[in-house]
Every structure is written in structure tokens, then in C-alpha cells.
């Protein structure tokens, strides 16, 4: 299909259920009450000329182009600000309207350059289209006193700002305010001097508060704000709807293409996760896909001390298969394992775990969710009966109280954060939702434009369970529990046991204050607000899971939601914000060593039998090794071969020295990735991977939404990732013959009850589906546990606070907690290979002014960060965002390697590492540590590729 811009109805859709019937240009139309006349016309297929209106934001009524005549009314009202009324008779084109519009347009164009032919927006410009629509033929005004010839702002790496082309419609300002919620833009000056400004007049876009989400570029009807790539390449000629490969929000995008060249990624208005919004990563940071660092040919080497040797695919598969066979024969089949990727598709992940279970003959398969959301799996399965969030993202629109714990959505999940912020600012005339934030840091959402958390509880890292138990204490002892809900939906005896426990005086906020450092009165007020403030929704992230009591914290959250009846309808629920794009999917697909797809334990004979019949093999009924256990077994000399798809465990997993010791002890490490990542330093076989633009499949986001990923270009490495796994499986003797990922999804659906109704055809038809998709719920399940919990009765679990063994002391007096930043993603393998490094060129250590002064440290100083596990150096930034005694950094840069410092402590139930609590000491430093220097030398050596002898 040729390129079509996305449809624009001019003003937002009305939420009203009642309808109104009116006549526009002699044709009757029925629309939702509260719609504008402009929208009613658009829904009918009538395009009223407009410039300042667009359906992603409220009507503004400034451009005076969408004028109409309405029978019985005086004048020519703007259709964007005029609501429909029953029986209204509207005319959109009359001689008077034509004359007025032409006059308005003439004024606009008198102050606009007439360089359409060489303008980057030529053919994709609303101003140009509307000039044509109103029949403008000449401009009579003197163009001397205009605002042309102004300097362009090229500072943002992804888009340009050309004030000369601005028509002052304010769409960019309103997009920043209403859609993104950053409020970075403003109108400077008046009349002819009106100019869009990013902050102060002295600021450019890069230096301003702009977060580069692209909403303003999307909203601009001219070439004023335009993607640099469009300036460079030209306008796109086709568009393919696909799913972003960054965070767990799972935004739907249109990949707008010219041939096989990607011109731009534009958020898709019908995307149910993002509703037409985007962030800097998904919108702009896709340059890594064609980065020169991509390895495009398979490579092998006998030892990690050798340089790599490039080989053809056939040789790579044959060599890999022979190595796996050799190791299996020599050390036994349990010496082999695999790691699936939360960045790869469901289909690819499913195949990797199938390769391990059916091909390697054991259950040694794990996924990077081990190190992020495995406690969510354990905790929600135990309490509710299923390992997933309970809501869709739309649900937040009906929340009255939003409780965020251990999550930093404006950085980690920016598009959902924008939707949340809309609700927190108040929308549709409804009062804003109230906000409670439980976090050791004052994250951006605690206080941002028009948003202020009602309560911020800056707890001591590692005391989540104590804080939540204290909240439960308040709810139960003050009689705020929803006993009717509990009696109907939950096990009353278990509730009583739990209520008795949380009511103990030792669990009161006052008693726990010395442990949690949270003001007891503030905690009491927060608990009362959550219990009584209407629909209460809890959103949480890795600040909950990545602790030695991660699973307990998840269960404590579930307890709170059940105790207050905040489950099973819109606006409430327990919502894990997933880190990577397909964490949910990777978990669903049976990536954990103890369970098959759909969260069925490997010891479940009936479930195992389904797979055994389908795959024609017998499966091991015993659970396999989790990632940390694999590394221990490797150091013990009994685990020898690992296939790692799309993960960089050396960079992302804790205690880097232990990970490297484990990898070094293996005889065959197979890395399947886009780049020679850190793990590849210890690899013997490198299989080049393909990007999300180069393959078909599905991702499942944090709201259980299964969404299509569509191939828009040929894989540069020659094979899609699922094809690589299939060829590897064939090489070790498995009879696999998938010709398309849709066939893999058919197999998943056949073997996984919650996916029974999922197929590529169905997804093409409806866009996306939220599992469970079953005979009872053929269109999926936006909200779970509506009529009762999946497990039957909701289970209250007593979660006693057990302090972590990672303790501060005289040598290591500070607590380090780690996290992420907006412009980077996970280990940074992708985003570090884009212009996003402009915003975050290095990891910084946040330290409180008091702690900094004690150590004589200023912002910008190099400091040594040391723990019991190791030490590294990075630069400090002094800020009161962190509490005294707490320091914070990110883990996006390989040179910093924050995980050299993190420890082996992990969640009691799942071994999810305790990234969020490490006792450290900070001191001034004048250079990299020995480890950093040695590691850099090792990386350089490990990445050598042998040059081919020239052909004679």
C-alpha cells in the first residue's frame, strides 16, 4: 500500500456512551455525545480544513480555519470547539466560509517561506494541504516584516527546529503539556514576535527540559519540527505497523519506510498500549539496527585467547553441534543449558527452551527475567494464581489513588508514565488521582509540573516488606479492610491468620520506623489513603523484586490489594512494570527451568505429557538450573556448555567476577547476539542475530498484550533468530521444519491453555490480544480475576520482614541502589550505539551533599565505589534526590560495570539478585581500578577477528 498518514479526527474521542444525531452537509451522522462538530464531520468522512486541531489533544480554537455555519446560529463558529447537539444542521462549505478561510490562509502564508519544493515536509505538510484545500492562489500582503530567516535549532540529535516555518498553532506546546506531561515548551513574545521556545529564550532543545519523546514533532503541522532522518532521506513511501523492542510498555509504531530503508518510527494511534505516544528510545533510538558494530557473519574459535575466525553458517552450525555432542558425551547431558532472551520474540524464546528440553535433554533453561521479575512470577502465582499483572494500561484512567513502589516510570516506562501523569493532573473534568510513592529516591514523578505526590515514603533500601507490613497493620487495626470482598473472594482463615500477624504491635509503623526510616504518621496517612481513597492501583518495578525478599514484597503487595478489595475491576490492581520488551512473554513461554509454557510445573505429569506427545520426546520431570546455579555448577566443573540468545549476562548479572569465573570454566559458550557483547569475551561461538526490524513474531508487554512484530527489512546477517535456533536444532538431530513464526505460535497455542485462541491471523485481525485468550474469553482478558481469582480463593501469605544479610558497617557505610535512566535501555548495548549518548554519556554516582562533603567529593569528581564484591570508578553527582546514607547509579555502560560491585545475595524464593542493596564505601579516585584496566585489556583481546588471507 502506498503511504497514507494516520487518520486525524481533529479532536479526541468522547468517552460518552450516549449518541447524538445531526446533519452535516445534508448527510445524517450519529456520533458520541460530547464530540466536536469537527470530529463528527471527520467520522462521517468530511474533512473540514484545520491547522491547530489534532485528535491527540484538546481543541484550542486558534487557527480560525475550521469554521462552519450552523442553522439557527449566528456567525461562523469554529467546529473544533463546538460540541454536537441533537438535530444540528451544519454546513462545512459555503461561499462565506470559503472566503473567510482563504483570507485566514493568506495571512498564514504571508509569513511562511514559499520553498515547498525543497522543503523536507514536501508532500507531508498540513499547511501545504490546507492551502490547497481552501483554494489559496495568491498572497497580497507585503512580506517584509515577517519572522522568516530565523536561525534553525539543530541541537537535538534526532529532530530540527526551524522557527521560520512555525505558524504558532501551539500544537507542539500542547503536545508537550497534554500528551507527554513535561511542559518543556512555551510561547515566547507576542504578535509577530511569537516564537516557540524550549524553556528560557537562552535554551535550545537539547539544553532544555525536553525529553525528546517526539510528541511535538508528531504534532507539528509544518516542517518546523521535523525528524533529521526525513530531512536526510525524504518522506516515506509505505508504513508497517509493528511493536517497539525497548521496554515492557510495548508501544505500537508505524515503521515508515522507503524501500528497505527505515525513515522514521511513528507512534501508532490505534496502539492500545501507547495510544499514539512514544519516548526517545522507541521513536528515535533505532540507529543501532544498522550500526557498524553489528557482527554479520558467524565466528568460531577454539579458545577465548584466540582471535575469532569468520565462517559460513553451515560450518558454524556443524561445529556447534559437534561441540555440544562432544560435551554431552564427555560430561553428561546435564552439562548443557540455554538462556532465552526477554528481547527476542515469543516464538524465538519458545524455540530456545524447546531446544534445551527436547534437544539437550534437560531443563537447564532460564531467562533474564531471573534477574528482574522472577519474584513477580512466584509471588503473584502464589497469591492470585497467575504470574502476571492484573490490569491493562487503560485501567489507570479510572484510578483514584496510584501507589508506586520501587519503580521509576518516567525513566523506565516513559510512555505509560505519561498516561499515568495525565490521570494525576486530572482529565475530562474529573479530579486528579492521588499519588503515593515508596522509593528511597525522590524520583521525578514525586514532584513534576502539576503533580505532587500526596505521600513520598523514602524508605531505607531493603525494608520494603517492613513498610508494606506496617501499612497492612494500619489498614487492619484501623478497621479499613474490605471484609466483604475478602469473605467473598479470599480464604477467610488465611486472611485471619495474616490479619492477626500484621496487627501485632511489633508491626506498627511506629515500631518499624527505626528500621524503615519512614515517618510513622506519614505511613499511616498513606495507608489510609490507599485503603479509602477509591480505586487504588499499585504499580511496582525492580525496586520491589531485586531484593533478598523480592518474592515476599510481591506477596505483601498482593495482600494489600486483596485486603482493600482493590482487585478485579478497572482502576485497581497489582501491576508489575516489566523491564524489557518481552519479559512477560519470555516467562509465559516456559523459559524458567521449573515450568513449561503457561506456568505449569515440569513435575506436572499431565502438562508434560502434552509436550511429550507433541514433540515426540520424553522430558525430564526434575527442574533444571537457574542462571546463578548454572554459574556455580560451571565453577564446580560440571556445567560446560551454554547457548545465550540475546542476553549479556556478564554485564547485566550481579557480581561480575563470579559470572566471568563461571563463563571461563565452560568449554562451549555460544553467544547469539547483534554485537560482540561483554559475554562474548568468554564465547567460543558467535552466531549473529537479527533486529526486531528484520523478523516476524510477537512480543508480550507488561499488560499481557501479545502484539505482532513485523519484518520490514531483510536480516543483514541473513537469518531471523528463530531460523538460527532451528538450524542449530536440526544440526543436533532434531526434526524441526517451521517455515514461518506463525507455525511456532500455532504450536504454543496448541500446548498452552491460556494461549488457546492466539494465532497470527487473529492478531492481524484485531491488532493485539491480552492473554488468557480462551473459549471463555475469545477476545482476550484486559482485566484479570474479575469474578474470582484464577487460583480459586485469593491467598493471603504472611510475609515476615527478614533483613538482608548485606549490611552496612564501618568499612562499607553507605547503601548503593541501582536503576536506569530515560535515554538508555538495560545494559545499553542498543542505546549506547545511538545518539542517545548525548544525554547520558557515562554512568554517574548520585550522592547526598552530606555524604559528599564528608568525603570531600564534588559533582564531576572521579570516585571509587567499593563493596565486599569488588570496586569500580565513575564520576559523582551531588544531589539530594537520594537520602543521606544512600548512593545510586545506573548500569548502562560497560566501562563502569556497576555489577562488579553488586553481590551474590538474592531473593530467597527465586534467586533474583539483590541489585538494589549493596553496602559500599566511596572515596576520591584519580583513575580506573585495576579491574577496569584488566577488563578493558581482556575485552580488546577477546574481540580480535582474524583477518582473512587475501585470495591468490
Amino acid at each position: 500500500m502506498t503511504y497514507q498518514p494516520q487518520e486525524d479526527f481533529g479532536t479526541p474521542q468522547s468517552r460518552a456512551l450516549e449518541t447524538v444525531r445531526l446533519t452535516i452537509d445534508g448527510r445524517e451522522v450519529t456520533v458520541a455525545a460530547g464530540s466536536s462538530v469537527l470530529r463528527a464531520a471527520a467520522e462521517q468522512g468530511t474533512s473540514i480544513p484545520k491547522l491547530c486541531a489534532t485528535d491527540s489533544m484538546k481543541s484550542f480554537g486558534s487557527c480560525r480555519l475550521c469554521l462552519v455555519e450552523i442553522e439557527g446560529r449566528k456567525g461562523t463558529p469554529a467546529s473544533c470547539t463546538t460540541p454536537v447537539e441533537p438535530g444540528m444542521i451544519v454546513r462545512t462549505q459555503t461561499p462565506l466560509l470559503q472566503k473567510l478561510r482563504k483570507g485566514v490562509m493568506e495571512l498564514y502564508i504571508s509569513d511562511h517561506p514559499l520553498d515547498c519544493l525543497t522543503c523536507a515536509a514536501n508532500g507531508d505538510c498540513e499547511l501545504q494541504d490546507q492551502a490547497g484545500a481552501v483554494g489559496l492562489r495568491d498572497v497580497r500582503y507585503d512580506v517584509a516584516s515577517t519572522h522568516l530567516e530565523q536561525e534553525k535549532d539543530h541541537s537535538n540529535p534526532y529532530f530540527d527546529f526551524d522557527p521560520s516555518k512555525c505558524i504558532a498553532c501551539s500544537r507542539c506546546i500542547r503536545a508537550c503539556d497534554e500528551v507527554q506531561g513535561t511542559l518543556a515548551l512555551t510561547m515566547e513574545g507576542r504578535g509577530w514576535d511569537s516564537k516557540i521556545s524550549a524553556g528560557f529564550a537562552s535554551d535550545n532543545f537539547l539544553g532544555s527540559e525536553c525529553v525528546s519523546c517526539g510528541a511535538c514533532v508528531q504534532a507539528c503541522p509544518t516542517a518546523t519540527l521535523i525528524e533529521k532522518k526525513v530531512v536526510e532521506v525524504g518522506t516515506p513511501e509505505r508504513a508497517v505497523v509493528t511493536t517497539c523492542a525497548y521496554c515492557g510498555v510495548g508501544c505500537t509504531f508505524r515503521a515508515e519506510m522507503r524501500g528497505e530503508q527505515l525513515v522514521r518510527m511513528v507512534p501508532y494511534k490505534d496502539g492500545k498500549a501507547n495510544r499514539g505516544h512514544s519516548c526517545v528510545k522507541g521513536r528515535f533510538a533505532w540507529g543501532y539496527a544498522q550500526h557498524q558494530d553489528r557482527v554479520l557473519k558467524p565466528m568460531i574459535r577454539a579458545s577465548i585467547n584466540d582471535p575469532w575466525r569468520e565462517v559460513e553458517w553451515d560450518e558454524a552450525f556443524a561445529y556447534t553441534a559437534s561441540e555440544l555432542k562432544r560435551i554431552s558425551e564427555k560430561y553428561g547431558k546435564h552439562a548443557l543449558g540455554g538462556i532465552t532472551s526477554s528481547r527476542c520474540t515469543n516464538e524465538e524464546t519458545f524455540l530456545v527452551q524447546k531446544l534445551v528440553r527436547a534437544g539437550f535433554g534437560n531443563n537447564n533453561v532460564d531467562t533474564c527475567a531471573r534477574v528482574c521479575h522472577s519474584p513477580t512470577g512466584y509471588g503473584l502465582k502464589t497469591t492470585f494464581g497467575t504470574s502476571a499483572g492484573t490490569q491493562d494500561f487503560d485501567s489507570v484512567e479510572d484510578s483514584d489513588v496510584i501507589l508506586i513502589i520501587g519503580a521509576n516510570p518516567t525513566d523506565g516506562h516513559p510512555v505509560f508514565a505519561s498516561r499515568m501523569k495525565r490521570r494525576l493532573r486530572g482529565q475530562d473534568g474529573r479530579p486528579p488521582a492521588k499519588l503515593i510513592v515508596i522509593d528511597p529516591r525522590r524520583t521525578d514523578i514525586v514532584r513534576s509540573p502539576h503533580i505532587e505526590a500526596e505521600h513520598h515514603l523514602p524508605l531505607r533500601p531493603g525494608t520494603n516488606v517492613a513498610v508494606l507490613t506496617a501499612m497492612a497493620h494500619v489498614i487492619v487495626t484501623e478497621g479499613l479492610a474490605d471484609e466483604e470482598f475478602i469473605r467473598e473472594r479470599c480464604d477467610w482463615d488465611e486472611y485471619s491468620h495474616w490479619a492477626e500477624f500484621v496487627s501485632l504491635p511489633r508491626n506498627s509503623p511506629e515500631n518499624l520506623q527505626p528500621v524503615t526510616l519512614v515517618d510513622a504518621q506519614e505511613l499511616r496517612a498513606a495507608a489510609r489513603l490507599y485503603a479509602t481513597g477509591g480505586n487504588g492501583a499499585i504499580y511496582y518495578g525492580l525496586g520491589v523484586t531485586e531484593h533478598s525478599q523480592g518474592s515476599s514484597t510481591v506477596m505483601a503487595i498482593a495482600n494489600l490489594a486483596m485486603a482493600t478489595g482493590n482487585i478485579g475491576r478497572r482502576g485497581v490492581g497489582v501491576n508489575p512494570l516489566r523491564g524489557q520488551n518481552n519479559v512477560q512473554g519470555a516467562c509465559d513461554m516456559g523459559s524458567f527451568p521449573h515450568e513449561l509454557s503457561g506456568y505449569r510445573h515440569i513435575s506436572d505429569g499431565d502438562a508434560r505429557a502434552m509436550f511429550e506427545v507433541d514433540w515426540g520426546v520424553s522430558l525430564d520431570p526434575e527442574p533444571g538450573l537457574r542462571i546463578p546455579n548454572m554459574l556455580d555448577a560451571a565453577v564446580d566443573g560440571v556445567f560446560k556448555a551454554l547457548y545465550v540468545q540475546g542476553e549479556d549476562i556478564l554485564h547485566s548479572d550481579p557480581n561480575t567476577k563470579h559470572v566471568s569465573a563461571g563463563l571461563a570454566a565452560m568449554e562451549c559458550v555460544i553467544v547469539h547476539d547483534l554485537f560482540l557483547n561483554e559475554t562474548a569475551n568468554y564465547a567460543h561461538i558467535f552466531l549473529p542475530g537479527s533486529t526486531f526490524l528484520e523478523k516476524n513474531g510477537t512480543f508480550t508487554n507488561a499488560e499481557r498484550r501479545i502484539q505482532p512484530v513485523r519484518k520490514v527489512m531483510t536480516p543483514m546477517n541473513g537469518l531471523e533468530d528463530w531460523e538460527v535456533t532451528q538450524r542449530l536444532a536440526q544440526a543436533i538431530g532434531l526434526d524441526w521444519n517451521y517455515s514461518h513464526p506463525s507455525e511456532i505460535m500455532d504450536e504454543i497455542a496448541r500446548l498452552t491453555p491460556t494461549f488457546a485462541g492466539v494465532s497470527f491471523d487473529r492478531l492481524d485481525e484485531v491488532g493485539s490480544l491480552q492473554w488468557p485468550v480462551t473459549a471463555d474469553a475469545p477476545d482476550g482478558s484486559p482485566i484479570m480475576h474479575v469474578d474470582g481469582f484464577v487460583r480459586g480463593k485469593g491467598k493471603f501469605v504472611v510475609t515476615d520482614y527478614v533483613p538482608t544479610d548485606e549490611k552496612t558497617g564501618p568499612r562499607f557505610p553507605l547503601l548503593l541502589t541501582t536503576g536506569r535512566i530515560l535515554s538508555h535501555y538495560n545494559v545499553g548495548a542498543q542505546t549506547r550505539r545511538t545518539e542517545n549518548v548525548v544525554w547520558h554519556p557515562e554512568d554517574l554516582l548520585e550522592i547526598h551533599p552530606v555524604d559528599a562533603e564528608d568525603r570531600g567529593i564534588k559533582s564531576g569528581d572521579w570516585v571509587k565505589l567499593a563493596s565486599r564484591a569488588g570496586e569500580t570508578t565513575l564520576r559523582a553527582t551531588v544531589t539530594d534526590r537520594v537520602a543521606p546514607g544512600v548512593v545510586y547509579t545506573t548500569f548502562h555502560h560497560a566501562v563502569t560495570q556497576a555489577n562488579v560491585v553488586t553481590t551474590d545475595y538474592s531473593d530467597w524464593a527465586t534467586n533474583c539478585p539483590e541489585y538494589k542493596v549493596t553496602a559500599v564505601q566511596i572515596s576520591a579516585s584519580n583513575g580506573p581500578t585495576d579491574w577496569q584496566e584488566e577488563y578493558e585489556a581482556l575485552s580488546e583481546k577477546a574481540r580480535r577477528i582474524a583477518t582473512q588471507a587475501p585470495a591468490e
Partner: protein, 70 residues
Amino acid sequence: MNTVERLVYMANQIAVNLATDDDPVTAIANHIDLFWDPRMKKLIREYQGDGLSPDATAAINLLAETQNAA
């Protein structure tokens, strides 16, 4: 920490977190049975040293009994 020391640590950690269960010993044994691979189970069953908490010890004995019975 070597592997066995880590398994002892993990067993104790599971025990302390399941201490409030109605039947902690069974809960600990179940947890280990559901999530540990056969080699880890074997190593902890064969562990003769000290350092395991009473509940963890009882759970591992229970696990050994049920596995021998099976």
C-alpha cells in the same frame, strides 16, 4: 562461598522466610523440591556439616525420605 556453602545459605534463607507458614518444614521441603535441580538437591542431602537451621535440616531430611520412598 562455594556451591555447597551457598546451598546451605539458600536453605536457611528459605527456612527463615517460610518460618511463619503453618507447617514450615513441609513448606521448605516443597520449595526445594520444586525449584532446585537434582544436583543441588543431592548436594544438600549429602551435606554433613553444620550451619543448617533446625527447620532446614528437618526439611532436607523430609525431602530425602520422600525421594527414597518414591
